[in-house]
C-alpha cells in the first residue's frame, strides 16, 4: 500500500493538539492571555488598574507560558505516542512542574508584597494546571466539532471527488473501445478502479505526493480517452518533492474541476498547467486552466473546492494557504502547505 501510517496531527479527535503547529500555538497563547486579561478585569476597579494587573500577571504568566510551549514543542513526538488521557495528564503535569520551577527560581521576583509566599506558589501551580485542563478541553471540543464536519465532508466527498458525470461518461468511453481495442479498455478500467479505491480511502491519512501524481495522471488519461485532443496537460514537478507527503485527493479533484468547468465547455479545449514546487518549508501546488469567458461559476465547483479547503484547515490549520483567482478566461488555484517528509515527522 502506498499509504503511510498517519502522522500524529491527523488523528482526531483522540489526539493532543499538535504543539508544533503554528495555529495551535497561536490559539494557546491567545487563550491564556485572554483569560489573564479577564481575570485582571474581574479584580479591577479602573482601566488603569486593569492594565497594571495584567502587566503584573504577565510578568509571571509569560515565562511559564513560553517555557511550557517550548517544552511541549520538544516533547511533542513522545507525548503523541501516549494514549490520549495519559498524554493529557502528562501535559498538565508538565505545566504544573514548569510553574513550580519558575516560581522557585524566580524567587522574590514574583513573590507578592503581601501575603504568604508559599500560598502564592501553590495557587499559581493550581491556576496554571487549571489553565492547561481548560485549553486541552478546548482543543478536544474543537477537534470533535471539526470531526463531524469531516464526516459530513466524507459523505459528500465521493460526489465531490468523483463526479457522476465523469463516472458515466468514462464507462461510456470504455464501452466504446471494448470491441475495437480490448487491451486499452482493460487498462482504462484498471485506472478507474484505482481512482475509486482512492476515493473511498480514509482521507485523514497522508499519502506520497508521487502517488497522488500517478493517480492524477491516470485520471487525465481517462479523460483524454473521451475528450481526445481537446485535453492537453503540462506538468512541472520539482524533483525535491519526491518524498513529500500530502493529504490524499487534493490534486485529482482540482484537475477534475479544471476539466469539467474549464476544458469541456471549450470547443477547442485547452491546456491544464500543473506546477508543483518547494519554496522554503512549503509545498506549492498551482493549477491553471482556461475557461469559457461567459460562463458563470457552478455550484459543483464550489463544492469540491470547499471540501478541499475544509480538509486543509483540518490538517494544517493556519499553516496552509489556499487561493483562487478567477480571471476573464482562466482559472487559477494555488495551494500552499507545509512540506512533510515521509517516515519521520520532522516537518519544521
Amino acid at each position: 500500500m502506498p499509504e503511510v501510517q498517519s502522522i500524529n496531527q491527523n488523528l482526531w479527535p483522540d489526539a493532543l493538539p499538535n504543539f508544533r503547529n503554528l495555529g495551535a500555538t497561536l490559539r494557546i497563547v491567545l487563550w491564556v492571555n485572554g483569560i489573564a486579561l479577564f481575570a485582571a478585569i474581574v479584580q479591577s476597579a479602573s482601566v488603569a488598574e486593569i492594565v497594571q494587573r495584567f502587566i503584573d500577571g504577565s510578568a509571571f504568566i509569560q515565562p511559564v507560558l513560553l517555557s511550557s510551549l517550548l517544552l511541549l514543542y520538544g516533547l511533542k513526538d513522545i507525548l503523541a505516542r501516549l494514549i490520549y488521557w495519559q498524554g493529557a495528564a502528562s501535559v498538565i503535569f508538565l505545566v504544573v512542574v514548569t510553574t513550580l520551577i519558575i516560581a522557585y527560581f524566580g524567587g522574590d521576583l514574583f513573590a507578592s508584597s503581601q501575603g504568604n509566599a508559599s500560598f502564592y506558589v501553590w495557587r499559581n501551580a493550581l491556576l496554571s494546571g487549571a489553565m492547561a485542563v481548560l485549553i486541552l478541553a478546548y482543543f478536544r471540543l474543537r477537534a470533535m466539532s471539526l470531526s463531524t464536519a469531516l464526516h459530513r465532508a466524507r459523505l459528500q466527498a465521493l460526489q465531490a471527488r468523483i463526479r457522476p458525470h465523469f463516472l458515466f461518461n468514462s464507462i461510456n468511453a470504455v464501452l466504446s473501445i471494448v470491441r475495437a481495442d480490448p487491451k486499452q479498455a482493460e487498462s482504462a478500467l484498471e485506472d478507474m478502479a484505482d481512482l475509486f479505491r482512492m476515493a473511498m480511502t480514509d482521507t485523514r491519512k497522508m499519502v506520497m505526493l508521487s502517488h497522488e501524481i500517478a493517480l492524477s495522471r491516470q485520471y487525465l488519461a481517462l479523460e483524454k480517452l473521451r475528450l481526445g485532443e481537446r485535453l492537453t496537460e503540462s506538468w512541472q514537478i520539482d524533483t525535491s518533492l519526491n518524498d513529500a507527503l500530502v493529504p490524499p485527493l487534493m490534486l485529482q479533484p482540482l484537475l477534475e474541476n479544471a476539466v469539467y468547468h474549464g476544458i469541456e465547455p471549450l470547443e477547442k479545449g485547452g491546456i491544464i498547467d500543473i506546477k508543483l514546487f518547494k519554496k522554503g518549508q512549503d509545498i506549492h501546488l498551482e493549477i491553471k486552466n482556461p475557461c469559457h469567458a461567459h460562463r458563470g461559476k457552478h455550484n459543483g465547483h464550489k463544492m469540491a473546492l470547499e471540501n478541499i479547503r475544509e480538509r486543509l484547515a483540518l490538517q494544517f490549520d493556519v499553516e496552509a494557504k489556499y487561493t483562487v483567482e478567477c480571471g476573464e478566461d482562466f482559472y487559477h488555484v494555488h495551494i500552499q502547505m507545509p512540506y512533510i517528509k515521509e517516515e519521520r515527522h520532522e516537518q519544521r
Partner: protein, 255 residues
C-alpha cells in the same frame, strides 16, 4: 408518416467521439431488427444545424452537455426546420434535465446507452411528433445563446449578444442587429422572460438590450405631450418609451 417503408434516417450529435462511436456500434446492432440508416454525425450544434438543413433526418440523437451550444438549444433551432426531426436526448448525468424530461414526458437515453432502450426509443420515434418548442424551453434553466430564424430553407442563427432590440409587429418580431433586421416568429412575452438578463421592456411592443443603451432623449416640446425615447449604440433610430415604462429612465440615470 408516409415513409414507413424507408429506413429510419438517424443523425448523431455528441462532442465526444467515443460516445458517437458507441452509438454507431449500437445502431448497427439495431439494424438487424429495425431498418435504419445513419445519415451523418456532428461534434457540435452549429455543424449539426448546417448539415441537417439539407439532410432529411427522421431522428436526431443529441447529447445535452456540449460546448458552444447545448443539446436543448440545438433542439429548439432544429424545430425551425421545415420538417423537424424527432429528437432523442442523450446524457451521462444531468439531474436538472432528467427531472425536467420526466415531468414533460420527453424521451431521453442515459449513457451508457443500453441496446434495448435505444431500440425502443427508435421504434417509438417512427410514430412520434417533434417536441413542442415551448416544452423544450422549459427543459433548461438557461437561455438560448442564439435566436434562430428560417430563411429560404436555411436556419440562420442570430447570437443574442448581437441583438439590439426586439419589436413586435403584427404577426412577426423584428430582430434588429447593427447590420440588419430579421423577422422571427416568437411571442415577445416569452422572449422577455427568457432573456431578462439582456433586454428590458420600453414599450408594450419593444424590448431593448440594456447594455446597448446610449442615451435617453426627450422629444415633443408641446407641454404635456413630451415623451422619452431611447437611442441605442450604433443605431440612428430612436425608440419611444411608453408612459408606463418611463420609470426605467430614472433607474438608468443612477448608473
Amino acid at each position: 408518416m408516409n415513409s414507413v417503408n424507408l429506413p429510419l434516417a438517424v443523425y448523431i450529435v455528441d462532442d465526444e467521439s467515443p460516445a458517437r462511436h458507441r452509438i454507431k456500434e449500437l445502431l448497427s446492432d439495431c439494424q438487424l431488427q429495425l431498418p435504419l440508416e445513419l445519415i451523418g454525425e456532428a461534434s457540435n450544434g452549429i455543424d449539426a444545424l448546417e448539415q441537417l438543413s439539407t439532410l432529411n433526418a427522421d431522428v436526431v440523437l443529441v447529447d445535452i452537455r456540449m460546448p458552444q451550444m447545448d443539446g436543448i438549444e440545438l433542439a429548439q433551432h432544429l424545430n425551425k426546420l421545415e420538417k423537424p426531426p424527432v429528437i432523442i436526448f442523450t446524457t451521462a448525468f444531468d439531474n436538472y434535465a432528467i427531472q425536467a424530461f420526466e415531468q414533460h414526458a420527453v424521451d431521453y437515453l442515459l449513457k451508457p446507452i443500453r441496446l434495448g432502450r435505444l431500440f425502443e426509443a427508435l421504434t417509438r420515434a417512427r410514430a412520434a411528433v417533434p417536441i413542442r418548442s415551448e416544452i423544450l424551453q422549459e427543459l433548461t434553466p438557461e437561455a438560448r445563446k442564439n435566436l434562430s430564424i428560417q430563411e429560404r430553407g436555411k436556419i440562420i442563427l442570430i447570437p443574442i449578444e448581437k441583438i439590439l432590440y426586439l419589436r413586435a409587429e403584427l404577426k412577426y418580431i423584428t430582430v434588429r442587429t447593427e447590420e440588419r433586421e430579421y423577422l422571427a416568429e416568437e411571442p415577445l412575452g416569452s422572449l422577455e422572460k427568457e432573456f431578462a438578463a439582456r433586454f428590458i421592456r420600453i414599450h408594450r411592443n419593444c424590448l431593448v438590450a440594456k447594455d446597448e443603451i446610449e442615451s435617453f432623449e426627450k422629444t415633443g416640446d408641446d407641454g404635456a405631450e413630451t415623451h422619452w425615447t431611447v437611442k441605442l449604440k450604433g443605431l440612428d433610430e430612436k425608440l419611444p418609451i411608453s408612459r408606463r415604462q418611463q420609470y426605467i429612465v430614472k433607474e438608468f440615470k443612477k448608473y
